[in-house]
Symmetry: C2
Subunit: 347 residues, 2 copies
Amino acid sequence: MLASIAHRVPPRGYGPWEQVASTLTEGLVARGHEVTLFATADSLTAAHLHAEAPAGYEEDATVDAKVSEGLHIAACFERAGQFDVISNQFDFLPLVFSRLVTTPVVTTVHGFSSERILPVYRAYDDVTHYVAISDADRHPDLTYAATIHHGIDVDAFSPGAGDGGYLLFLGRIHPDKGTATAIEVARRAGLPLVIAGVVHDEEYHRREVLPHVDGEHVRYVGPVGPDQRDRLLGGAVALLHLIDFDEPFGLSVVESMAAGTPVVAYRRGSMPELVTPGSTGFLVDDVPGAVTAVVAAAALDRGACRREARARFAADRMVADYERLFARVVAEQRGRPRRTAVANLAR
Amino acid sequence: MLASIAHRVPPRGYGPWEQVASTLTEGLVARGHEVTLFATADSLTAAHLHAEAPAGYEEDATVDAKVSEGLHIAACFERAGQFDVISNQFDFLPLVFSRLVTTPVVTTVHGFSSERILPVYRAYDDVTHYVAISDADRHPDLTYAATIHHGIDVDAFSPGAGDGGYLLFLGRIHPDKGTATAIEVARRAGLPLVIAGVVHDEEYHRREVLPHVDGEHVRYVGPVGPDQRDRLLGGAVALLHLIDFDEPFGLSVVESMAAGTPVVAYRRGSMPELVTPGSTGFLVDDVPGAVTAVVAAAALDRGACRREARARFAADRMVADYERLFARVVAEQRGRPRRTAVANLAR
């Protein structure tokens, strides 16, 4: 399991890639697989831990990210012969190592940060097995082995009563995430809004968010840990997820459902795959639609919302999906004439 | 030959790493070796050119540097089996691929940009063969196969008369390069100063350089191409190289000598290895020392200066040094029991 090393695995706060790597690793170990997790030295796991970096490069200023990433990825590929399969949860850089080993590599595409990174995905399309994290995020130029929605530990979220009388924004403060739109919708719906998350766009935060924060109608509580997140989700009438980009997946969306809190989301990216209208929330297209949906969401059955979250987005389901894919990839590999790494073939 | 891809090979303007890769590649081809140059697609070479990137990432905003570098390096290592030796002129990133192939890798260390990149050099000390570009730049933690001073095409520089009556600063405008110190020395020596080079530190340029530029006592001519550089060097009484860091090598220093123009340099880094006091220039420790040296430099034999440049820093000498090292590395490799790439060994 090749994790991202921006943060510890699991992350202390923000870090969706590291969170998914952790959930998948622990799930595979629990099912009896032997797993080596390549991650930072301060990571917590029941798997074998191999660490090159003492800590995440976002958390340790003495570390050069490029050096740290290079050593980390190489450590995994230099040991490729020990593994039946490499699960790459790191992003694109490991791809360029994948032709140098014979072990199959399954690469989870956590999203395309920019069109400029597409060339490397295209170049390794014939070598690696891509996993999309939603059908919406599949790129027409790539071949995918599967779509696997993320799973979460549903039991880490308490069933909430939604009795706090407020709406919730949970995520990075960034135009993509629609923080300002959430403020507008809450105002029109006549409900207070609580905003939780790291500031990812300072200028936007200062210009579009802070002027509305009055501690009463709009509260900003900063980044939150698991306990506070659980309380905030449990008390919220609904989660506002009025995104301004085609989000490949939204962990906070399924976390909200796990707490029983319906989600009012813009119909973009993966949202139609995650939100079941009338059950776990509503899909809307504009601010008036969102205001109407907030009222309807308050009337939804929170127990049913949580049950659906467990059925569709539990960690177990994700782990089982990956387990099946890994087994298939390994079987395909064994069925082939023994491939030698290109570097040796060419001589 | 794995070149850096910040710029074309050879570079149009600034780009010392690409310049060295070019000189070495063309020299090896001229000596009858079969060379594949991995560089940008717009590169010019008599070798086989393999390009992944259309242009240098410093010259093409549509390119993601990380993607471009990854594809570029991987292309070389995926073909490693075709080569007797890989000459890595790229910096540290190729190191992390080097255990995955059996072809020996000779890595020229063009300087340590920061202590934070040392860990990766240490981690591959047992695998790669390091070349220092000066004895001064050898790091005590690393094992070196050789020190090889850069060489240049001496005939690309005309023998200059030094009759322009000015001193010359040639290099990046940056505190490390001592642009402001050169201004001070020229003023005290009573000679005009011509400054040529790219601005690498905007703030320094605005604060310490521009206020002195009056078009008469101090002229700033910007970055210069080969022709203008040749004219500027030829007319200069001396080159001022009053560096404020331990420069691993100074291409402009040997270029100046090739034009017959003596160099007044601070006694730091590689300077004592490059400048022969009383012959190709002077080594000094402070501003008064530099002022005195300027007067003495004007009296040096410019023909002798150029002859020494040719004897010590001609491209042929550098190419021969690398040729010997490559031959030794290849012979050592052949003498060993056939090593298999680690990835396959471990299984």
